[in-house]
Symmetry: C2
Subunit: 233 residues, 2 copies
């Protein structure tokens, strides 16, 4: 099963790349530069590809990002602190980002006669991001079946779609993923900030999975407060 992995350099997609390399035939990693304010995570994706001995393509879709304005990921808006499940995190949504990245990845997979595209969407994203929900994933694969009919047969592999992030941390631990070689933080500091949505979610995932977290956080204790606040909300 020749499989291309969409890899942002984060915990989930780096773990997915290691999983595909262990269980199938990993052909390449592709990453997207959509005009995010820091490119630190792309470095971690590149290092993951080097570690696994496969090519890495960074696809520049910053021109597209510029059109999709109104998002904290691409515009000059402050990234909010707090837990993902809070309403304020909606500002981090780039409209249709997953559909765009997946469609490009399917084109690349078809061009290299790969059998599958793997993406690290996971259960924890469902509430906030409609394009991470199982219904989206299923409808996307069906759309691609029609789009490539007669030319290519490419599956969409999303083994984490029903799992909480803590299960990904546990899977990564089993696969001996070097977690310090992954980047989750929305901010571009030297270390993970510990306060933004992805930092809180990352820290919580390691805690729930009972897996040692090698990450250095600027604010290592904020996550617990944020989780408690989200529970109470």
């Amino acid at each position: 099963m020749k499989t291309l992995v969409i890899c942002s350099g984060g915990l989930d997609s780096v773990t997915l790349a290691h999983k595909v390399a262990a269980e199938a035939e990993l052909t390449r990693l592709i990453s997207f530069d959509y005009g995010q304010r820091h490119k630190k995570e792309l470095d971690y994706a590149r290092r993951c590809a080097e570690r696994l001995g496969v090519p890495h393509n960074v696809i520049d879709i910053a021109n597209v990002g510029a059109l999709l304005s109104g998002s904290a990921l691409t515009d000059d808006v402050d990234v909010p602190d707090g837990h993902y499940e809070e309403e304020t995190m909606k500002v981090t949504v780039v409209p249709n980002r997953n559909a765009i990245m997946l469609a490009i990845a399917f084109g690349a997979a078809a061009a290299e006669n790969a059998d599958a595209v793997a993406a690290a969407v996971h259960g924890g994203d469902h509430f906030i991001y409609p394009d991470c929900r199982p219904a989206f994933i299923d409808s996307f694969e069906e759309m691609q079946r029609h789009a490539l009919d007669g030319y290519a047969a490419v599956k969409l592999y999303t083994p984490f779609v029903h799992l909480p992030k803590s299960d990904i941390a546990a899977e990564g631990s089993r696969l001996k993923v070097p977690f310090e070689e992954t980047w989750s933080c929305y901010k571009g500091y030297e270390h993970h900030c510990g306060r933004c949505g992805t930092c809180v979610e990352r820290r919580e995932a390691f805690h729930v999975a009972n897996v040692e977290d090698p990450t250095i956080y600027q604010d290592p204790d904020y996550w617990l407060e944020a989780v408690e606040k989200a529970k109470g909300a």
Copy 2:
């Protein structure tokens, strides 16, 4: 109904832009530069936007095109002469191009709170391009319903999907589209070549619709030979 039109500068999409401007609220035209060998058609899209008094965005996805290798549209391969329905025309397919362009257009539509994306796929494309078939169009709209759930409701408007190209020429004639301000040819000469698949299809469409064709073709008579050959195949 605020509607964004994907416009290549060709006969079909320029006619669609005029149709939307006449029947709904046209918000903008968007075109894609996917590394096609000549950009002549993009000029005609720009002129269409100026004529209709709306913004025009050219979205550069040439980086993506470079990944989707193996196509005559983007690589250094000769564009074949002849009728679309011939097997040899398959070389002009860029894998997943319509899914990629539509996904980006839906992101742009969601960002500007538009109600619809209009695309000029038409009946004549069905046989050769899977991503122009009604089943693809329906599954794409369904996918987008999930992808944008809770954030935006964007329809996919494809009024030509069941029509032959000759009906588009007839519709353009009714709408008084300046056909000389449209470009179909796959080659980048001063005038339409008259021999490539789109030239043959264009010339045939005007003939069948009994609409005067103002286009200057380098080889104005080849189309009839190509159509006869396709019928006999």
